[in-house]
Symmetry: C2
Subunit: 203 residues, 2 copies
């Protein structure tokens, strides 16, 4: 399949790239600081540019895969209205735009796979913007799946990644981690399988 | 208790007002088109004004109760990026701002009760923006509860309201409805009880 991968340079994106490439897929990568296309999907106009330039490179896409999304982490009392708005633009609207603009761009039975995370269901201190963003994406996926059929949309919702425990483990006390290989497998399941409207909770 | 009620003129807000007033609470009402204070919480600056003027009227609040939130309903293909942003401002950021700005305004063990809805978990066609907003609020509530303790925050998440079936029933085929009295009871439970971080799913 021809696949567009957003967030290709992060730890997760690198693993997903390796797994999908190993299965013979042709991939165009997008990142703010690296990849085939250096663009920021936090800006809806750049999402349009991503699709224009990806089409020039490999033609009609079969799958769009996102491993990108930033949100601020602070206690509620230290957040600003702009922090929550930034979390919305950086992880929610960015991924919604991949789907909204993408339905007219990808193949008739193509798919979208978005990234969320455990904080939607298992909150931690300072995580209110991340939780908000993850909950938004997960509920969007369930609803959008109805409207865009037979195209498909799913979300991958991992807990803390085992390979990131040295950096982030202290924020997830007693919460089981998940290996990057398992997270990458969920992307494969979404891209190559037939399910839609699913949130793959990994933990 | 001294209670601030936002969205006081709608069908739900009217029922919540009647129930809370009947239990002896002192209530200041806020609405875009009616109520003691005519302000729009979709604008963070007006949230500040709501708190300033409510304090002038009745002093320190014990509870903030929201029955307000608008989102567009259209198929994904007919949505614009601005539609999703409007849904975020109108139902997510508006209610987050009530909490974020409110922690410094309400009593030490005061509470916030926000409104979401069934579309977060049971999607319908054209409901992707509403689902996004409801999912965002529900996950925010779970996470924010940690940061703001001993203040509390909960969400009321009703299915379609029985009294609204003539208008909206066709959009919820086979989905059970819930009476306004039961929805109002969930607000009482949140305001007068001791729970926090809860999403009261009704129906």
């Amino acid at each position: 399949m021809k696949i567009l991968l957003i967030g290709a340079t992060g730890k997760l994106g690198t693993a997903v790239h390796k797994t999908l490439a190993g299965r013979g897929h042709e991939i165009v990568t997008v990142g703010r600081s690296g990849g085939d296309l250096r663009l920021d999907i936090g800006d809806p106009a750049q999402v349009t540019e991503v699709y224009d330039r990806a089409a020039e490179r490999i033609g009609t896409l079969d799958a769009v895969v996102s491993a990108a999304g930033d949100t601020p982490f602070k206690p509620v009392a230290e957040m600003t209205a702009e922090d929550y708005a930034a979390g919305f633009r950086g992880k929610v609207l960015s991924q919604i735009e991949l789907v909204r603009q993408g339905t007219a761009r990808i193949s008739a039975r193509g798919s979208f796979t978005l990234i969320t995370g455990v904080l939607a269901r298992d909150p931690i201190p300072t995580g209110s913007a991340a939780a908000m963003a993850n909950g938004a994406v997960e509920s969007f996926v369930r609803a959008a799946a109805i409207d865009i059929a037979p195209q498909r949309v799913n979300a991958v919702s991992p807990t803390v990644v085992t390979e990131s425990l040295p950096d982030y483990g202290a924020f997830f006390p007693g919460i089981a981690s998940v290996g990057l290989d398992q997270v990458a497998a969920a992307y494969v399941r979404s891209v190559e399988g037939g399910q839609t409207g699913q949130v793959y909770e990994l933990a």
